[in-house]
């Protein structure tokens, strides 16, 4: 059994790393949102759709 301070460290470590991952996930989401919103990008897609 680990002592309390070790457990606290594991917990703290988990908290820091998981928050960092969440932050990155949100960054990815934002990038995706930007990509979807980008009108120029959509125009290219529409053009491609028409060519099909």
């Amino acid at each position: 059994m680990q002592d309390k301070s070790q457990q606290e460290k594991v917990l703290k470590d988990y908290e820091t790393k998981s928050q960092e991952i969440l932050r990155k996930m949100m960054m990815v989401l934002m990038r995706a949102q930007r990509k979807v919103d980008d009108s120029a990008y959509l125009k290219v897609l529409q053009k491609l759709e028409k060519q099909k």
């Binding site: 917990l11 908290e15 928050q19 996930m25 995706a32």
Partner: protein, 562 residues
């Protein structure tokens, strides 16, 4: 959007001790670590789930291939999350067995020496390809592995996948025609070979110099290099890296290894021992590193001081030192990542620093800074002003927080003093017109907001009241007539406090929290800016001073009406 921002934005000051003692008082009634872990895990999972749901909604609006890189990246991050959950659960005894069925990229050697066992697992990976596929990363390196995952779609197949027979080349007179793709493949393969030679050479030199033993089965060279250089003396790193310095920068993960490992030792020592004076070799390496990004000694000093303003004395000294190193590691990584983008150009980072005062590159997504560099910003402008100094990492979400509140195309600036704020705002208004919204991201309390790391680099209520410039911001066309100001800063919205004084001086609408915010969001039908408190409840204080109608304006109105 969920916010991971759960760190106080309180300026260091005497009133802080109350908060600390209260926390200590609550310590006794804390639930067990296992229970807290379960609670934390549930919160994190809920956050990740919300991101995934929103992403699925986005994906349903576009053809599948458009968001494939982002989907891969999210999947990788999700795997990473599962990995750290498993490891933490195992360490706390809530999970009976730690099954590592895939590399869990928990850590890496850059920032957590306690995860050495995991680093070893990572190093024992069988091949570089396996690592690319499963996103094994060093903290701060994730974008790089993300890029690695995207490589096949953007730059053709990886060298391992390259097979001349399967590339579909057309043959003319028995000779295979060199298609553009095959030339690119060849160039890429050459680059990989050069890098491998370089890495092998460095590994051999470091093995000899440090005498460290590395598992003979390990083939992931970047991991080996990180492990070998982890605790190496900066003078030794300098001596070995220097002759190959320029060649190393062709590969950003190797560049990262140099950047991080050459400065972390020195930084760790200076954090733990106030008397420690960095050696000439340590100083020389930092200067050399910044030079690579186009910064001179003065710029390098300013930027490095902003990064090392992280100094959380509330944490145990070792943890504080480690987190301080992480801030530097993340910022170096962001600089490397930005520089690696063709849109950034040679002077991109320098322009961001000179024109907008950006020092903490890791606070923003690289694409946000690229948008800003290329002028894809809103007009009239919306600006996020962040303090350069951040003693506890609470300001690290300026990028996504700013975009969440002000929308896409935000102009980000950083300032270390009141004159710096004025200079930046004037510059933005000259280039893009009167500023419509300002979000100020800094530590503070009801009396002041702190921008630089020195005690006098603050903006106090007395300074605001006595300022001749602040009341003229609208008249001079720096702020829009209907400008709104949000203070993302602890306690500034308290009754009679900083927000009220600023509202009176500027006649702008000023929104601020009268508590220590744990997040920021737009909520309600009117989508007003609110701050999350510890219970997750969103609230804010808004101050707006309507100019009293003078005798003259009353007369003017009457004339107009007539």
């Amino acid at each position: 959007m969920p916010s991971p921002d759960a760190i106080d934005r309180q300026a260091p000051g005497p009133d802080k001790e109350d908060g600390v003692s209260k926390e200590k008082g609550q310590e006794a009634s804390k639930p067990s670590p296992e229970k807290r872990f379960q609670g934390l895990k549930a919160n994190v999972r809920a956050g990740a789930e919300r991101v995934r749901t929103q992403f699925s909604q986005l994906r349903s609006k576009t053809p599948d291939a458009v968001l494939t890189p982002e989907a891969d990246e999210l999947e990788g991050l999700n795997r990473e999350l599962t990995g750290i959950e498993k490891a933490a659960g195992f360490a706390l005894g809530t999970e009976a067995v730690l099954v590592v069925d895939e590399p869990t990229e928990l850590e890496t050697g850059i920032d957590d020496q306690n995860d050495k066992d995991v680093t070893d697992q990572e190093i024992r990976e069988d091949s570089v390809t396996a690592n690319n596929d499963t996103s094994v990363a060093v903290e701060g390196e994730d974008s790089e592995t993300g890029d690695a995952r995207q490589e096949p779609t953007t730059e053709g197949p990886t060298p391992e996948q390259t097979d001349p027979a399967s590339t579909g080349e057309t043959k003319v007179d028995g000779e295979p025609a060199k298609t553009e793709e095959s030339v690119q493949d060849q160039e890429k393969q050459d680059r990989v070979s050069e890098r491998e030679v370089l890495e092998d050479d460095l590994i051999a030199r470091f093995k000899e110099a440090t005498g460290k033993e590395i598992d003979p089965a390990a083939t992931y060279k970047y991991g080996i290099l990180m492990e070998l250089t982890k605790d190496a003396d900066p003078s030794l790193l300098l001596e070995i890296f220097e002759p190959k310095y320029d060649a190393l920068w062709t590969e950003k993960s190797v560049a990262h290894a140099i950047a991080i490992n050459t400065i972390r030792q020195s930084l760790g020592k200076t954090t733990l021992d106030k008397e420690y004076v960095p050696t000439d070799a340590e100083k020389s390496m930092v200067v050399k590193l910044f030079d690579k990004f186009g910064f001179d000694l003065k710029d390098a000093t300013n930027i490095f001081q902003a990064w090392t303003s992280y100094n959380n004395s509330e944490l145990p000294p070792e943890e504080n030192a480690e987190k301080r190193q992480n801030v530097v590691a993340r910022n170096f990584w962001s600089m490397i990542d930005l520089k690696d983008r063709p849109e950034c150009g040679q002077d991109g980072l320098k322009t961001l620093y000179d024109k907008y005062g950006i020092r903490n590159f890791a606070r923003y997504d690289s694409s946000q800074l690229i948008d800003q560099l290329e002028g894809r910003v809103q007009t009239p402008p919306k600006v996020v002003v962040s303090a350069t100094a951040d003693w506890n990492g609470a300001l690290s979400n300026a990028g996504y927080g700013g975009e969440d509140i002000l929308g896409k195309g935000v102009t980000y600036v950083e300032a270390e003093s009141t004159t710096d704020i004025a200079r930046r705002l004037v510059k933005v208004s000259r280039d893009q017109g009167p500023i419509k919204e300002v979000l100020i991201n800094a530590h503070g309390n009801s009396e002041l907001m702190q921008f630089g790391r020195k005690n006098n680099q603050v903006l106090t209520t007395d300074q605001v009241e006595g300022s001749k410039g602040i009341p003229r911001l609208k008249d001079r066309g720096i702020l829009d007539q209907k400008a709104g100001i949000t203070l993302w800063s602890c306690d500034t919205g308290e009754k009679g406090g900083f927000a009220k004084v600023l509202a009176e001086a500027t006649t702008a609408k000023v929104t601020a929290p009268d508590f220590k915010p744990k997040g920021i969001e737009k909520s309600g039908i009117l989508k007003r800016v609110k701050f999350k408190d510890e219970q997750g409840k969103a609230r804010a204080k808004t101050y707006q001073v309507r100019r009293r109608m003078t005798h003259k304006t009353r007369e003017d109105k009457a004339v107009k009406a007539a």
